[in-house]
Structures are given as structure tokens and as C-alpha cells.
Chain length 393, copies 2
């Protein structure tokens, strides 16, 4: 096991291969992302989110009948209990949407008797419910916090279109819905990132699907993880216009800072999802008559890559957050919903990982994650402290 012999103390488990998985493969040096054997490029162009979720959950692409049935199943599971809407209505309108989503997943759990059933079938049913209901939950919150009526899901619409319908209160144009749909396909799965690992970690104790997915959402809510495309958008707004790009990049480099959306922990080349996102961002900008954010992104990519190469000798690959920011913005998704929209896609991957964690073949299945720590407390030197009663401290 020499290949696994790496420093592990205080390295955040980086580079450590801790589990085998059949779900996805991230080939950083090749710029490839593979879901269950299929290249993301092929999927993005040709399948919808429902087909992707099916592929992840069932380990194969559905045929027409299977896809029809699966879409129907998702449609019937979209509704959330009125009591959950009632609970959301007690929430302060300024709450962080990721916090609403995390709590909301907990609320959904209270209505699902499958939380008491430890079978794989029950876990799969909960997975499908979560995939179906998280968009409803999020859209409901989008309405409630604005003092608007909640829009019930429409069984006439597919997954992405229905989300936009529930959020905006009107049926979206086909192309716009397809753009969001493609985003959901692109973000559905990415192996053992922090949020997926959190979900698996929780699932490893035999906690149920909701408890695990709530942990995933919590992990994704962190600035170092799901918050990145929000910060890309904030950066674009700070730059403001193309003529400021040069000076912004210069300043960023001189201050030793990073450009949001450039650079990645895993990919050494441009993230393959970028090539799909960038043209959609352009087209979407044209549709809404505001190509400024795409143009700014494009220029920033070019200028920053050249400058970091020249000044620092660094190749900066574009990551998935860079063009998704301007795309989401043009679609009319509120900036503070960027991470929650990421979550309603990634829940397909998370739930699949929970299924794998809890029900894969015993040989491939880790026991409950229970690492060790090295105690470095030296409060009384190398010895234990002698206890002193409070009156003598």
C-alpha cells in the first residue's frame, strides 16, 4: 500500500484515497469528469437532469419508458407538506438561503416515515423525494421571503422548468429552462468533495438520508466550497466594466490575492464544464439584452490568465464557478440562491453517495468514519493537570 503512504496529519485528507466508489471519476490532468462511465461533455449536450439523476441512482442511462416513469415519479413527489410551508412562514426573511435549505431538509424528514426504515429501498425512496422536493422548498422560500404567494409545482413541467416556474411565478421559455437544466446536469456530481464527504460521513453512522443531506448542505454553505460562484458575481460587480479589468488583475496580483473562479484543487486544465457554461452565459446574456457580465468574464479570463502566467508563471484553469455566476445571474436567479441552486443539483450526487456508503458490497464499504487525533495539549507540561478546587484557583 505504498501509494497510499502520505502525510495525513493536518493536511485535510488531501490527496488521500480513502474509499473506492463507482459513482464518478474526476481526471484532473485530462480535464475529464465522468459520471458512471459517461463523459460529462456527452451528458451535458444530450441528457436532462432527470436522466442524469437516473444514471447516478440506477447505474445506467434509462430507456424511454424508464425515463418517462422516473420523470412521473419525481413529479408526484414534488409537493411538500403544508406544515413545512407553515414552518417556513415563521422564518425571518433575512435568513441565509442555505440555512433555510438545511433546516428545511430537516423539516421534510419529520413527515417521512421512511426515516425509521433502514432498508435500501427506503433510502432510495428518500433520495428520490429529496431530489424532487428540494427545488420546491427553495422556490417556496424565494416567494415567502418576498411576501409573495407560494407557487405549487406544475406537473406539466420538467424538473428545471418547474423550478423556475415556482420561483418566478411564470412558465419559463424553453431555452432558458434548458440552460438551467444543463447547469443541473453539470453540477450533479463531483466525487468526494467536502459536502459529499460530509454526507457520507453522516450516513456511515447509519443516520438516515435527510440527516446526511442536511450535513452536505451545511458543508456546501461554507465560503470555501459552495460560496465560490457568489464571490465570482460579487467580483464581477466590483470590477463593474471591461475597462477596469486590467487594473483589477494588476492589483489582485500585487496584493498576492486570487481571482475568484480561476484555479482549482483538482483540475490542472480548464474545467470541462466551463466549455459548456461559457457559451450558455453568452447566449443568455444576449437573450436578456445584457451581455456585460459574460463579456466581462471573458475579458477577465483572458487578461488574468496572461498576467498570472507572466508575473507568477502560473497556469490558471477556469473552474465551474466562473461562468456559472453570470449565467445564473442572467437567468434571474438571485445571487444568494446560487449555492442553493448548486445544492438542488448536487443532491443527486449526494444521495447516490449515501446509497453507496450504506449499501455497497461489504468489501467496498468503509465502516463508520472514525479517525484519530493527536493530542497536543500541554496545559500542565507533559503530565496531566492536578485538579484544584475552584476556591483555590
Amino acid at each position: 500500500m505504498v501509494e497510499e503512504c502520505k502525510p495525513v496529519l493536518n493536511t485535510g485528507l488531501r490527496g488521500l484515497i480513502i474509499a473506492s466508489s463507482k459513482i464518478s471519476d474526476v481526471r484532473g490532468s485530462e480535464g475529464k469528469l465522468i459520471y458512471r462511465g459517461y463523459l460529462i461533455q456527452d451528458l451535458a449536450d444530450k441528457v436532462c437532469f432527470e436522466e442524469t439523476a437516473y444514471l447516478l441512482l440506477y447505474e445506467k442511462l434509462p430507456d424511454t419508458d424508464e425515463l418517462v416513469a422516473f420523470k412521473e415519479k419525481l413529479k408526484t413527489e414534488r409537493h411538500i407538506p403544508q406544515e413545512v410551508i407553515d414552518a417556513l412562514k415563521t422564518r425571518p426573511h433575512g435568513a441565509l438561503p442555505m440555512d433555510i435549505l438545511q433546516a428545511g431538509i430537516g423539516l421534510l424528514a419529520h413527515h417521512d416515515s421512511d426515516v425509521r426504515d433502514q432498508s435500501r429501498d427506503a433510502a432510495l425512496r428518500m433520495a428520490i423525494r429529496l431530489i424532487a422536493r428540494m427545488p420546491t422548498l427553495l422556490a417556496a422560500w424565494g416567494r415567502i421571503r418576498q411576501g409573495e404567494d407560494v407557487v405549487s409545482p406544475s406537473s406539466d413541467l420538467d424538473h428545471a422548468a418547474n423550478f423556475l416556474y415556482m420561483l418566478h411565478g411564470k412558465v419559463p421559455d424553453h431555452e432558458v429552462a434548458r440552460f438551467l437544466d444543463t447547469c443541473l446536469v453539470l453540477h450533479a456530481e463531483h466525487s468526494f468533495n467536502a459536502s459529499t464527504f460530509a454526507a457520507r460521513e453522516v450516513a456511515s453512522t447509519k443516520a438516515h438520508m435527510y440527516a446526511a443531506i442536511a450535513a452536505g448542505v451545511g458543508s456546501l454553505s461554507g465560503d470555501l466550497h459552495g460560496g465560490a460562484n457568489v464571490r465570482v458575481m460579487e467580483m464581477l460587480k466590483t470590477i463593474g466594466s471591461i475597462e477596469n479589468v486590467e487594473s483589477f488583475v494588476k492589483k489582485t496580483i500585487s496584493e498576492g490575492k486570487k481571482i475568484m473562479g480561476l484555479g482549482h484543487a483538482v483540475y490542472q486544465t480548464d474545467d470541462p464544464r466551463t466549455f459548456i457554461l461559457a457559451p450558455m452565459s453568452k447566449r443568455m446574456g444576449e437573450r436578456v439584452g445584457e451581455t456585460k457580465w459574460y463579456d466581462l468574464s471573458k475579458t477577465l479570463e483572458k487578461v488574468a490568465k496572461a498576467a498570472f502566467k507572466k508575473e507568477k508563471g502560473l497556469d490558471l484553469p477556469v473552474n465551474v464557478d466562473f461562468y456559472s455566476a453570470s449565467l445564473y445571474y442572467s437567468i434571474g436567479i438571485p445571487v444568494d440562491f446560487f449555492s442553493p441552486v448548486f445544492a438542488i443539483s448536487r443532491v443527486a450526487g449526494w444521495t447516490t453517495h449515501v446509497l453507496e456508503e450504506q449499501f455497497a458490497d461489504a468489501a467496498a464499504k468503509p465502516a463508520l468514519y472514525r479517525p484519530e487525533s493527536k493530542y497536543v495539549g500541554e496545559y500542565c507540561g507533559p503530565d496531566q493537570c492536578e485538579f484544584v478546587t475552584i476556591d483555590k484557583r
Copy 2:
């Protein structure tokens, strides 16, 4: 780093020392548990939960003035917003209490503006609030699900007594409160177990305190983790009386099963906390005029240890869950509140770990936890799958 060179693939990170920590030390072979330099035996006899939480959070035992001020602080932070009570009232009475607790922590986050503040001070304030409010949340649920009025916290009572007061609606006797208080001291911290690791994992993405603690609760809710003392109690009820112990142990061994509460992943000797819990369980049984559960536990411990030694050559150390089950039961804590009561204690440890994860010296601080997985999907042999459109599948 040869000492860290261990198999890591599909081993649940067992035995792997992944981070340094100054918080606690579990010396399994010596049967010692140390919080910030102090032996648990010393703490259990001599300090209260508030003093323990102070020790964990501030790295020293408080003097009298500091303890008075800290208790006062916790008292002022006990109240939970009416909107959270309102949200709890929308919940189905049959929901699992751990699920209520996980969602409830999310609900509390919505009312705390510190979730937007990434400073250590803000994190510490949130930690203190969570330690103060989780008992209020849990007790409120205990009342609501029975259709009873919620009891507001009393500023006349210390932490443990106040919880029992809010749960049962009457001020507990001093000795009973002290027993629960001691349980809270004993369960407050136990290094990198699954729930603590889940909380740290979420915190490592710079997610806020509530998001991390909700993940900890989720992890603790799993049967392999926090559910153990519940299963001890269920086992005691199944056995029913002392004369059935011998046959139960015999049957358990012959079926290759385990006795709940005997055996531990870390301790090779009896868990040091057991020696404190067992006499409390006995005394508490005497107080309520029902020593049956203690007597049954004691006999079971003796018979099972001897039988496993004789039949299997195994030394079975008693773990912390074994006597806490009968103790909690005698105190009048509902069986399905055993894990949540564990959580209102362990939150002191979890929050301390989150502070360490996010704010320890850079040298000792891991980056965001991002392990790798080994892709073993062979859906199209060693190659990628060739994409086939849906009409041709």
C-alpha cells in the same frame, strides 16, 4: 512519517491520525479520558457542566468570578425566539427527536446575525448560544409533542436543573439534577468521534457554527453512534428480569451477536465514565423505588463478561452507554430523548472543535477536508462508455 503509513482505502479512517488537537485525549489502553489536561474522574466528581464547558471553550478551569459570569451568560442566552417555538408547533408529534433537534438548530441559525460574521468572537458567541439553547429547544419539543405548554427557562436554576425543569414542568430535586449534571460532564467531549469529525468537516469549509453542529447532530443520530444507549435500554426491557439474563447471554453468544453497551472501539479497559455512572444508576433507582434496571445491568455485565471470556476468549469492557441507559431512564428522560440529551452535552465539545478547526494556529489547522476516492466503476470495461441516445438504448 512511517507511523502514519497505514491502509486507508475503505477503512473508515480507523487508526489514522489526521489532525492535532489540544481538546481531549482518549487513552484507550489506560482507560483514561482527559479534557484539556484534566482527568474525567476528577472533573466528574468536582465540577458542573458549565465549568466543563468553560474549560473546553477557554482552555482553563474558571475561577469563582469567571464561573459566576459564565453561568450568568448562559442563563441570558437560554431563551429561544417565539418564532422557533411557532415552527416547532407545526411539526408532527411522531417526528424523531434527533431530527427535531437537527432542524431546530437550523431554525435557531435564522435568528442569529452572527452567522454572517466570520470572526472567532462571533463563532464563540454562537457556541455559547448553542450550548445555552439546545436544552431549551429539546425541552420545548418534549412539551409540544405531548400537547403541553412550553416551559420557559428559569434563571434561578443551573444548566442541568433548568433542563429537567423545562422538560418535566417542575423543579427537580438537587440530587437528581446533580446526576444529570454529571452525565453532561461525562458526555461533553470525546475527541474525533464520528459526530465531532462531521462537525469539523463542515466547519472546515468556513460554514458557520450552526451548520457544523447540525451535521454533528445528524451524525450522532445514526444507530452506530448516538443510538447505542437507546438500544441498551431496549435490550434491558427485552430481557425483562434477572432470571432471564443467563439465557439471554447464552442466546446472544450462540447467535454470534453482541451485547449492547459492552465493547468499545477505543477503550480496551472499562470506560472510565462507567465507574461514575454505575453508582449513580444504583442510587437513582433506589430513589425512584425501582432498582430493577440497575440490578439487571449489573448482573448482565457480570454474566456477559464471564461468558464471553469463557466462550470466546474476549474481554468485554463496559462502555459509557451501558449504565447511562438505566440512569437516564430512572431520571425520567424518555428513551427517545437519550441521544438528544447526549447531544445537549456533546455540543460543548463539538463547538470547541469547530473553534479549533476554524481558528487554531495555521500550522496546526487542516485545510478544508477533501479526500480522494478511487474510481472502480467499470460500466464499459476499462474504457469510457460510448454515449447512446435514448431512442437507441
